[in-house]
């Protein structure tokens, strides 16, 4: 078994118009910049995929990665917890212009909904958002005298995730806080594509330290020296024309 993909273009080739795509990362840490840029390249070459629903904690920064993806107009809807950031002009402008739909989800609920999607739990109750505008229209229930909101699982057609190392079976380890939503998104997508700094042979990763077991991963592509989104933003990089 070898889940290695030959290149980034192949890695994103299966994403179709209207699909839902989970994209890992919290701010710049763990953001799969190269996979996102490969998707932008494809759109610019072919006009597809478009009308995507993207799940990410944020809405991107600057003009690279997720922000650049949104800037192309490929994204019809964003499901996230915190679209306000240091330099969020791309999303903010499109949102105010009514060009992108926003589903705002508390961060812990977002994480738990994705986990539920991967774990076959169609719904769960959480105290988060009870009594707030974000609970509007959702079923509520009382357990042991406390009120909770019912939340539904979240799944996607694709997940694009950045990890540190992966073996050919798809077992993954991450790097520091770059882990964040990655392991959850791997479980919740029909097809999970992971960019790793290094693809290693099975056995090279300590089985005690594997964070994402390979069963959750359909494809692994090596990006040896991945860009760190925060560094790109500080260098005022713009994709597709990286001006630095």
């Amino acid at each position: 078994m070898d889940k290695t993909l030959p290149d980034l273009a192949t890695a994103v080739a299966g994403i179709e118009d209207g699909m839902s795509v989970m994209i890992g990362g919290f701010g710049g840490s763990g953001a799969p910049v190269e996979l996102i840029h490969a998707l932008i390249d494809r759109f610019r070459a072919t006009g597809h995929p478009k009308g995507l629903t993207v799940v990410n904690n944020n809405a991107g920064n600057g003009h690279v990665g997720l922000a650049a993806l949104i800037e192309t107009g490929m994204v019809a809807k964003l499901i996230c917890s915190f679209p306000r950031s240091s330099d969020p002009v791309v999303f903010t402008e499109m949102y105010r212009a009514g060009k992108i739909e926003l589903e705002l989800v508390p961060q812990g609920t977002l994480a738990e909904r994705i986990r539920a999607g991967g774990a076959g739990i169609p719904a769960f109750y959480t105290p988060s958002s009870f009594g707030t505008d974000l609970a509007e229209g959702k079923p509520v229930a009382e357990f042991d005298g406390r009120s909770y909101v019912q939340e539904r699982w979240l799944k996607a057609d694709y997940a694009l995730v950045k990890a540190y190392k992966g073996d050919k079976l798809g077992n993954l380890i991450y790097r520091m806080a770059g882990r964040n939503f990655g392991p959850l998104m791997c479980t919740a997508a029909a097809t999970t594509i992971v960019q790793v700094s290094q693809i290693v042979e099975p056995g090279a990763l300590d089985p005690e330290a594997v964070v994402t077991p390979g069963i959750f991963v359909q494809g692994v592509v090596e990006v040896a020296n991945p860009a760190q989104e925060e560094a790109l933003i500080r260098a005022k990089a713009v994709y597709p024309e990286v001006a630095q």
Binding site: G118, A119, G120, T187, G203, V210, P213
Partner: protein, 227 residues
């Protein structure tokens, strides 16, 4: 029954037959007991990754006696070994794999299977100590839930029935049954016969089955090598 008793498949042959259907690259959970034998009969050239409920993916075969590490066991509490690419995880992650639809195949034992795919395999009634383990989770989520079972009970009663009489493990979950006489699919609430022992007539097989066996297309011969 004595006439064709010698032609029935052995447990190992049933396991062999089930193993032939597992695709290269599949993630598979094998139930305790007879289903565990399936691991022995992977066709050459196919790589299958085995999952066990107690938190291992990609484990290897049993170690030689005396070399067991009792922290490295499967759900049947039997010692297994590590293979390159093994991963350990806790029980909630393990059942996320199960319930979340990540396993390609789960192969389980059965007391009874109904033509609508109901499975009864955890309780023989109120007398014993009830024990369910992971069976009620495994019947949900795996892309295919198959059963390996003798076609009849030890006293000759059918195990493939119109409706289960024993407590259910899951409703409408089984899609294929490997018995020592036949291979039967469950489609649209009916048993559809796919293979049978060549020496066994349709009438004989039907008489050992507690619900109508439908034929849709060819019925192949069920053959298994001496294993």
């Amino acid at each position: 029954m004595s006439a064709h008793s010698t032609t029935r498949l052995t447990p190992a042959q049933m396991a062999w037959r089930a193993a032939q259907d597992i695709a290269d690259g599949a993630y598979v959970n094998l139930g305790i007991g007879l289903p565990e034998m399936v691991a022995r009969f992977q066709p050459p050239g196919r790589e299958v990754i085995f999952h066990t409920e107690n938190g291992i993916l990609g484990f290897g075969e049993a170690p030689p006696p005396g070399e067991e590490d009792w922290d490295l066991i499967n759900a049947g509490k039997k010692a297994v070994t590590l293979k390159p690419g093994t991963a350990f995880f806790h029980h909630a992650d393990s059942f996320a794999m199960v319930r979340g639809g990540h396993l390609d195949v789960a192969i389980l034992g059965a007391f009874q299977v109904s033509e609508s795919g109901d499975l009864a395999n955890w309780s023989t009634g109120p007398k014993g100590v009830p024990a369910v383990g992971g069976a009620m989770d495994l019947v949900h989520g795996a892309k295919q839930v198959a059963v390996i079972t003798d076609h009849t009970t030890k006293d000759g009663k059918p195990k493939l029935l119109e409706a289960c009489t024993l407590p259910l493990t899951g409703v409408a979950c089984v899609t294929r049954v490997y018995t020592n006489l036949a291979v039967v699919d469950i489609e649209g609430g009916r048993f559809v016969l796919r293979e049978k022992l060549p020496a066994l007539s349709m009438d004989e097989l039907q008489s050992l089955t507690g619900a109508t066996l439908h034929v849709m297309g060819a019925v192949a011969d069920l053959n298994a090598p001496e294993v």
